[in-house]
């Protein structure tokens, strides 16, 4: 026996080979030789380790330390430091994406820790080309038991008792399949293994064949004994050269050992098998098509019955199982059915291997007990979604399967639950998709696949998939029409019922599943020609413009900045946005999350460039517009939504009056957003432009107080209701009404109205303040409180990743010395002398997933603690105050205190003359969202008037022609976003000066030049 003090296991799976493991192995062997360690340390090349995204993977035993992404250059250091001096090399450890923590030990990495390895028990642990290593891990013990101690009936009973169901797709009980084949009387029978793994995104079988090929052979021999077969085939796709080679090696070794061939283990049982190389046809994964293919024909399915158990390959009784099923069998026989059934749930026993891919941090192979929740797989094992994007859905079962959307992250993954959700288990391809996935495009993709792979034998599949693909392509390219969705559903049902084989019968599944969960997106494609994910390129010019609620033409003004034509850039922005200076400071910039530059290095700083333009160009002159329309329009609320509608309507010649309850116009931008983010002169400037058009803004005038709702109704022809959401939601804890407890928006409003009183100390929060909540309003309140001299702690009941506030705001708050405590929720406000003296909180932990895909916080019992504070600002959400709408009004308000919008309209309320929009309809949203609602309302009001007057629709006056230069770089160099200069935290936290200072000219031009000009047709 040769003893080594250390074994180095290098992954030799396809994934790691592609990233360079053979070179690492070579370098390692050379280095061990050079250091004279070749006799002490053994190198073993294993099959796929499963953590493919991190390859090449290397594990050093006995320590169990795992290294990721090892390159040949790393080898000398590894040998010198770890193998010689025993100091593991930390820079090659795994880093947990969420915490950045380095984890050296394989079994401590969450990706591995949550798995239950059964089928994959030997992955990365044995050398797949050495049969002895398999035997040492109890390999062939199940086969020995089956051949020597069990009858055919006993084997089948064990299989039935275990409850194992086919891992290849449909989940038919394996024992039952065997039983039927065993009952068929025939001298010749076949055992077939389906290794034609063709589902895009699935690679479990490849991995098993590469890492543990003998397990498959063992399963097949047991199956052969059970049904009385002596000949087998493994049908393996030609695209898997490494798997084919490992199979060849394994079969040769097994034959040499007498584990295949005649008189196996001297038991008198004969069985031999051949590998049959598939020639690239997806349909050959279907059992009857696979058999037709082995017979040397076009691989087309046959009608069933007769079933393969009766008349399969060459019309002989045959059993076909897939690789994963076969690889499970040896252990079921060796360890017993009870062992197998000890994990899993009621109807789905054992474990299942998934190929976890797509938009997930830890891509790789994952084996978990049946019934494990989707969220556990995606988040605990998969490490969540990269780049701060949001989970949208997981596709399970490939082109035959369906999607499981975000609201079902708690769903247990087993055959029945998955089917109920409209997906199928399939062979276990699990593709995670983030917010950038377009369900219509995905359905089109899968239909294209099925249409392409349809063998053409039966009409429903051959023609049906083609027609469905046509419809889907039309929808994706902007030619969708009403009724398309219904036609798709109808065709899907027909194909499901009438196609000959599984390929056709399941081909419509992705379409049905996406319609089921994302019908609104289908409708948006058809009706508004809008793809919110920014995928269907025919529907938009550039993804940034597509993502912007008001469709700002970003590439145009970037091009103009690059050409130093800042005045023209300003004009372009004003075409769609009445408040570019405000948006340049406070927009949530959805555009940047879709910026294609982000896939290269970092998204463009669109918001910052926008601000630069407004800081450095002259504001386009505004002239008053003569009133030439008869209808008078009132707008309730002078926030961005109301003022946008006012501007649009004034431009169309209407007389517009805006009623505002507060002393100044601006709404949340004036009374919510603090001046250190949005200086008041900037705000006032843009609002003055709207007045200059001829719009009258009546401040200090609340409808229902200074002027009655009925008066407004009487005096004006059309009314736009945009009062916003200015009322904080209550925490519903004891002591909420004690003096010193503020609502977030109420505090900000009071501060902005009575700024002097707050600044000179007439009004005060006290020395210590707790802010409850994790939204932008909470951060605004906290940063204001800091500026008033308070020591501020934010308490949030979930994790940082779950905070709705903008990431940059959270960081700015931390820089200003604000402490943020996560997983803390308020329980009770403590009172002393009639005012707040503290807040009792509970600690929380992550529970299951809610509909938003975030983990629900769950109280940790007995974790109460009390913080001494002088004030509590509760900022856990806002609601509109719609009490000005009289009872019995035609304008209906729903139970959540929002306006109801009439069916089929985007802004009309239940009354024909009242329209509504902004936060009072959507709930607290963004400035740009409010602007969009204002545009919509103006358009709808104008259309309503013109259609009532039988006038043609409004025609926008001809736009000034602004030539847009087209200049892009030949070579794109990687270059991150230009940083925004800002006031130092120490300097800014004592005053309300603007924190962000704006780009200098050179910086802005450089930043704008990073634009890839996705709008251009090259």
């Amino acid at each position: 026996m040769k003893v080594f003090r250390s074994h180095i296991l290098i992954c030799g799976g396809t994934g790691c080979q592609a990233t360079g493991s053979p070179k690492v192995k070579q370098a390692l062997a050379a280095e061990l030789d050079r250091q004279g360690l070749a006799d002490e340390i053994k190198i073993v090349e294993t099959g796929c380790n499963g953590f493919c995204a991190m390859g090449p993977i290397m594990v050093v035993y006995p320590d169990g330390i795992i290294y990721m992404m090892v390159q040949p250059e790393d080898v000398p250091e590894l040998v010198e430091e770890h193998l010689l001096k025993g100091r593991p090399v930390e820079r090659l450890f795994y880093k947990e994406p969420s915490t950045e923590e380095s984890i050296p030990l394989m079994h401590e990495i969450p990706f591995f820790a949550h798995q239950e390895l059964r089928v994959l028990r030997n992955k990365g642990l044995i050398d797949p080309e050495v049969i002895d290593e398999y035997i040492a891990r109890d390999g062939y013990a199940g086969m020995a038991k089956a051949l020597t101690k069990m009858t055919s009936e006993e084997i089948i009973k064990e299989m039935l008792d275990s409850g194992i169901r086919g891992r290849g797709g449909a989940g038919f009980p394996t024992g039952l399949k065997w039983k039927f084949a065993a009952q068929s009387v025939n001298d010749v029978k076949y055992v077939l293994c389906n290794a034609d793994e063709g589902d895009p995104g699935a690679f479990m079988d490849r991995s098993v064949l590469e890492a543990d090929p003998h397990a498959v052979l063992e399963g097949m021999i047991i199956a052969a004994k059970a049904i009385g077969a002596h000949k087998g085939y493994i049908y393996c796709r030609a695209e898997y050269p490494l798997a084919l080679r490992r199979l060849d090696v394994a079969i040769t070794q097994a034959r040499e050992y007498g584990l295949l061939g005649e008189n196996i283990l001297d038991t008198g049982f004969d069985f031999d098998l051949e590998v049959y190389q598939g020639a690239g046809a997806f349909v050959c994964g279907e059992e009857t098509a696979l058999m037709t293919s082995i017979e040397g024909n076009r691989g087309m399915p046959r009608p069933r019955p007769p079933f393969p158990a009766v008349a399969g390959l060459w019309q002989k009784p045959s059993v076909l199982n897939n690789v994963e099923t076969m690889a499970s069998i040896g252990q079921i026989i060796a360890k017993g059915s009870e062992w197998f059934a000890s994990v899993g749930n009621e109807t789905s026993k054992g474990t299942k291997v998934f190929a976890l891919t797509g938009d997930v941090n830890n891509v790789g192979l994952v084996e978990v007990p049946m019934g494990t929740s989707l969220g556990t797989i995606v988040y605990d094992i998969g490490g969540g979604i990269p780049n701060g994007k949001k989970f949208k859905a997981a596709q399970l079962g490939g082109p035959s399967g369906g999607m499981i959307p975000i609201q079902h992250l708690n769903a247990p993954i087993d055959y029945e639950s998955v089917a109920k959700l409209g997906a199928i288990m399939g062979s276990g391809g699990l593709i995670v998709m983030n917010e950038d996935m377009c369900p219509v495009d995905m359905a089109r993709f899968f239909m294209d696949f099925c249409q392409d792979e349809s063998c053409g034998k039966c009409t429903p599949c051959r023609e049906g998939t083609k027609r469905m693909l046509e419809i889907l392509t039309n929808i994706c390219e902007g030619r969708g029409k009403e009724g398309d969705i219904e036609t798709l559903i109808e065709m899907a049902d027909i194909i499901k019922d009438s196609a000959l084989c599984g390929l056709g019968q399941t081909a419509p599944n992705p379409v049905l599943s996406t319609i089921r969960y994302f019908r609104d997106e289908y409708e948006a494609h058809i009706r508004d020609k809008h793809c919110s994910a920014g995928v269907c390129a025919a529907l938009f010019k550039s993804p940034c413009q597509n993502a912007c609620p008001i469709g700002m033409d970003v590439p145009q003004y970037m091009a103009l900045v690059r050409a130093k034509r800042f005045d023209d850039a300003y004009k372009i922005m004003m075409r769609t946005n009445p408040f570019p200076a405000i948006c340049g400071r406070v927009c949530d910039h959805q555009c940047q999350s879709k910026c294609r530059r982000g896939t290269l290095d970092e998204a463009l700083a669109i918001k910052f460039v926008k601000r630069f333009i407004t800081d450095n160009a002259d504001r386009p002159a505004v002239n008053s517009v003569p009133v030439d329309r008869n209808e008078k329009i009132a707008i309730v609320g002078a926030g961005p939504s109301g003022l946008t509608a006012a501007k649009d309507l004034a431009l169309r010649g209407y007389q517009v009056t805006v009623f505002e309850e507060l002393p100044e116009p601006g709404g949340m931008t004036r009374y919510g957003i603090p001046s250190y983010r949005l200086p008041r002169d900037i705000l006032a400037g843009e609002i003055d432009d709207i007045r200059a058009l001829g719009v009258e803004i009546k401040c200090n005038t609340r409808v229902g107080r200074e002027i009655s709702f009925e008066d407004v109704d009487k005096k004006y022809d059309y009314i736009y209701l945009a009062p916003g959401a200015h009322k904080s939601q209550r925490m519903r804890v004891d002591g909420e009404d004690i003096a010193g407890v503020f609502g977030g928006v109420e505090f900000l409003r009071d501060f902005n109205i009575n700024k002097d009183a707050w600044l000179n100390g007439e009004k005060t929060l006290g020395a210590k303040v707790a802010v409850i909540g994790g939204g932008n309003c909470a951060i605004d309140a906290a940063r204001c409180a800091v500026r008033l001299g308070a020591d501020v702690t934010i308490l949030y009941r979930r994790t940082r990743q779950d905070m709705p506030a903008a990431g940059e705001e959270i960081i700015a708050a931390e820089h200003e010395g604000i402490t943020i405590e996560y997983f803390v929720a308020p329980k009770k406000i403590v009172e002393a002398n009639g005012k707040v003296s503290g807040i009792t909180c509970e600690r929380m932990k992550a529970g299951d997933f809610d509909n938003s895909g975030r983990r629900r916080p769950v109280v940790i019992e007995g974790s109460n603690f009390t913080l001494d504070v002088d004030a509590v600002i509760a900022s856990i959400g806002q609601a509109p105050d719609l009490s000005f709408v009289p009872e019995g009004s035609d304008v209906s308000v729903n139970k959540w205190e929002y306006f109801d919008i009439a069916e089929g309209s985007k802004s009309r309320t239940t009354s024909d003359k009242f329209f509504a929009g902004g936060d009072a309809v959507t709930g607290p949203w963004t400035v740009v969202g409010a602007i969009a609602a204002g545009h919509q309302a103006a358009e709808d009001i104008d259309s309503a008037i013109r259609s009532r007057n039988s006038e043609p629709p409004w025609e926008a006056p001809a736009k000034e022609i602004i030539d847009i230069p087209f200049e892009i770089d030949e070579e794109t160099e990687e270059q991150p976003q230009a940083a925004m200069p800002e006031l130092d935290a120490v300097e800014r936290k004592t005053n309300f000066r603007e924190v962000e200072l704006g780009y200098e000219i050179e910086k802005a031009i450089k930043e704008a030049s990073r634009c890839l000009r996705c709008d251009a047709e090259v």
């Binding site: 895009p200 797509g358 891509v363």
Partner: protein
């Protein structure tokens, strides 16, 4: 017979034809032997034009129509000559969602050919494939047997330049 042989000689050498005959001989009489023969033949000859199909059919006693049917059914077989290198862009789901579509568009632009075509200098044949099972590395481009993972659209040129 001689006519057919001459046709074969236009594309292939006598040695190659002899080897082809050897392959056919090895599988003669074996049930289901047609597909393995075609697989080996394509490995040897690079593609399977009609004259090759005729020879295989006649020698195995299978109608040429059947051989043709099989060749055209499976995506692995090709009837046209191929480039010195095969560049494949994976459009399996995992690669697709990670930007495979853009890679494919760039490939067309760079090579100036459409999917399934070969450049006029017979240097590259460009294909798209459905999932190579290297989903962990998506988007993936495979040139010959080298898998290039995590490919960004503007790095494609560098990859192709490695092959000549």
């Amino acid at each position: 017979m001689d006519l057919e042989y001459d046709e074969l000689l236009k594309e292939f050498s006598q040695e190659q034809i002899k080897e082809l005959d050897g392959i056919i001989e090895k599988h003669r009489g074996q049930p289901g032997g047609l597909i393995p023969v075609l697989e080996r033949a394509q490995e040897l000859l690079g593609f399977l034009p009609v004259p090759v199909q005729k020879r295989v059919g006649r020698e195995l006693g299978i109608p040429v129509s059947h051989v043709y049917g099989v060749v055209t059914f499976y995506s692995f077989f090709t009837m046209h000559p191929r480039g010195k290198h095969t560049a494949k862009v994976c459009l399996g789901t995992a690669c697709y969602v990670r930007g495979g579509k853009k890679i494919a568009a760039n490939m067309e632009k760079l090579l100036g050919i459409k999917e399934g075509e070969t450049t006029s200098d017979r240097m590259f044949t460009y294909e798209t494939v459905r999932c190579l099972g290297a989903c962990g590395l998506g988007p993936v481009v495979v040139v010959d047997n080298d898998i290039h993972g995590r490919v960004k659209p503007d790095k494609l040129k560098d990859i192709l330049q490695q092959y000549s």
